[in-house]
């Protein structure tokens, strides 16, 4: 009874979000802005002189936003893993898992765009640069996270162990592979280009930082859709198991 009322409330609230004019305006704005940025990246930006292939240097406005938003996604996923272990709400586990999934996609995009430009500029798709080492490790952590999840049957155990692994790996590995060895200056990647005044051309900076903003919007949007979907699936599953007359008391689902 309680669970079905909760499910109804969930459906109602999701429908309300769908028809909210402010949120649909934001989505349309995001679509226009993202399209404009892609066009600007190819047509508005001048080729960057001084690179082996000046035309292809524009890839920076796609590569860097992907990597920044992927870092945001991984951070969000780790924070929700901590919250899950502290409060044990299934919705936090769903959020952590979803952020990891979107983060994996963004890390793959970062790797692919980076490898294309590395081939042109540095002569090989993979150069074992310090940032390439750390991105490889982040990719492997993301994959291992989902491999670990799929091998555990009990959903509560799965969520807790996956959260513990996420914190264990994400807290230690980026620090040890990136921050610590980065004190040495031998890297192929340029340093401080996107934040300092002497760095990139002003046009590049506008497109790049707007790209970060838009891609963050896309990340939030995608995450909300997926989280809502999985929460509904969880509710349907719970109401099914209670309607069958099993002695299951739902205590985890809040209003």
């Amino acid at each position: 009874m309680i669970s079905s009322r909760n499910a109804d409330a969930g459906f109602a609230s999701s429908r309300k979000i769908e028809s909210d004019p402010a949120s649909s305006f934001l989505k349309v704005l995001l679509l226009i802005a993202q399209s404009a940025l892609i066009v600007a990246g190819f047509l508005w930006l001048a080729p960057a002189d001084g690179f082996r292939n000046p035309d292809l240097a524009r890839i920076v406005v796609f590569h860097v936003p992907c990597s920044i938003v992927a870092s945001i996604a991984s951070t969000v996923a780790t924070v929700y893993a901590v919250i899950y272990l502290a409060k044990r709400r299934p919705s936090d586990d769903i959020k952590s898992r979803t952020a990891f999934a979107i983060g994996l996609l963004l890390w793959v995009l970062t790797t692919v765009t980076g490898a294309i430009f590395a081939k042109v500029q540095w002569g090989a798709y993979w150069n074992w640069d310090i940032k390439e080492k750390s991105i490889l490790m982040l990719l492997l952590i993301n994959i291992a996270y989902f491999a670990l999840r799929s091998a555990i049957d009990n959903p509560n155990k799965q969520a807790a162990i996956a959260a513990a692994y996420a914190i264990f790996a994400m807290a230690a590995v980026p620090a040890l592979t990136y921050l610590l060895p980065n004190s040495t200056p031998d890297t192929l990647h340029p340093k401080g280009v996107i934040t300092t005044k002497e760095g990139l051309d002003a046009h590049y900076k506008i497109v790049l930082w707007s790209g970060v903003l838009c891609l963050t919007g896309v990340f939030v949007w995608a995450m909300r859709i997926q989280v809502r979907l999985e929460e509904l699936a969880l509710r349907v599953q719970k109401s099914k198991s209670t309607s069958r007359g099993a002695k299951v008391v739902i205590t985890e689902l809040g209003p």
């Binding site: 091998a151 555990i152 162990i161 692994y165 914190i167 590995v173 040890l176 610590l180």
Partner: protein, 250 residues
């Protein structure tokens, strides 16, 4: 008369309370040590982990030597080879400490009798013993088949100790998670622990290459790598102790 009896009762209560309180402060170390001793005893009885690890390192080193059959190998490549052998040999046996408890059904009683962090500490001690045994077998055998002239042992032995500690600390934590899975434990152990062990592997290989070479700058870098490996060990041990409770009790 009655007063005396009451006072003895109180004394009794006091002593029982003291007995209950006293082991609590001393028990953490005792628990960890007893778990370590129990694991060593069980291991010496069955020799399962030791056997698989020792055979793995011997066969891998011999196969590598046979495949290369005396071809000249650079010292940097030797440093990479020795750590790949050590890593995979250790991974073949390190999960055993927790998987055995789950398979024998003794994990539940261990959960009830010992504090979680003491279990981690005991298993870490056992895995440390196992890793150092692997190193004691692999390194001499490796230097027989692929001699390395002019090894700086004052650099190489600290690398082996610090690297072995980090390896055991990270692998023990991952093994506790792997023991809870239902299928494909050994493959999953390698997949899950590999990204966590990558920073260790890179620092250890670079440091070992420095210890094997006679170039002064490489030797200086090896010193920095020993520091990095020690930091890795401290970070992994701390993170494991903080998070172990969640993995062990769920």
């Amino acid at each position: 008369m009655t007063d005396v009896s009451i006072s003895t009762d109180e004394q009794k209560l006091d002593t029982t309370a003291a007995r209950l309180n006293e082991p609590k402060t001393a028990s953490w170390v005792t628990c960890a040590w007893e778990i370590f001793r129990k694991d060593i005893r069980v291991e010496l009885r069955t020799r399962y982990a030791l056997g698989s690890v020792a055979l793995f390192s011997v066969t891998t080193v011999v196969m590598m030597a046979a495949a290369l059959s005396g071809a000249p190998v650079k010292t940097e490549v030797k440093a990479a080879l020795i750590w790949v052998v050590l890593l995979f040999a250790a991974l073949s046996g390190l999960a055993r400490a927790f998987v055995r408890e789950e398979e024998a059904g003794t994990a539940q009683s261990l959960r009830l009798t010992a504090p979680a962090t003491a279990v981690y500490a005991g298993k870490l001690l056992f895995n440390l013993a196992l890793v150092f045994t692997v190193e004691a077998i692999t390194v001499p055998l490796f230097s027989v088949f692929m001699p390395i002239p002019g090894v700086r042992y004052d650099l190489f032995i600290p690398i082996l100790i610090a690297g072995g500690w980090g390896l055991a600390a990270a692998a023990t934590f991952v093994a506790a998670m792997i023991a809870q899975t239902t299928s494909g434990k050994s493959a999953l152990f390698a997949i899950v622990s590999f990204p966590v062990l990558m920073p260790l592997l890179m620092a250890a290989v670079q440091g070992t290459a420095g210890a094997f070479s006679q170039v002064a700058t490489f030797e200086a870098r090896a010193l920095a790598d020993i520091g990095q490996l020690s930091i890795y060990g401290v970070v992994m041990t701390t993170a494991s102790l903080l998070l172990f409770e969640y993995v062990w009790h769920d």
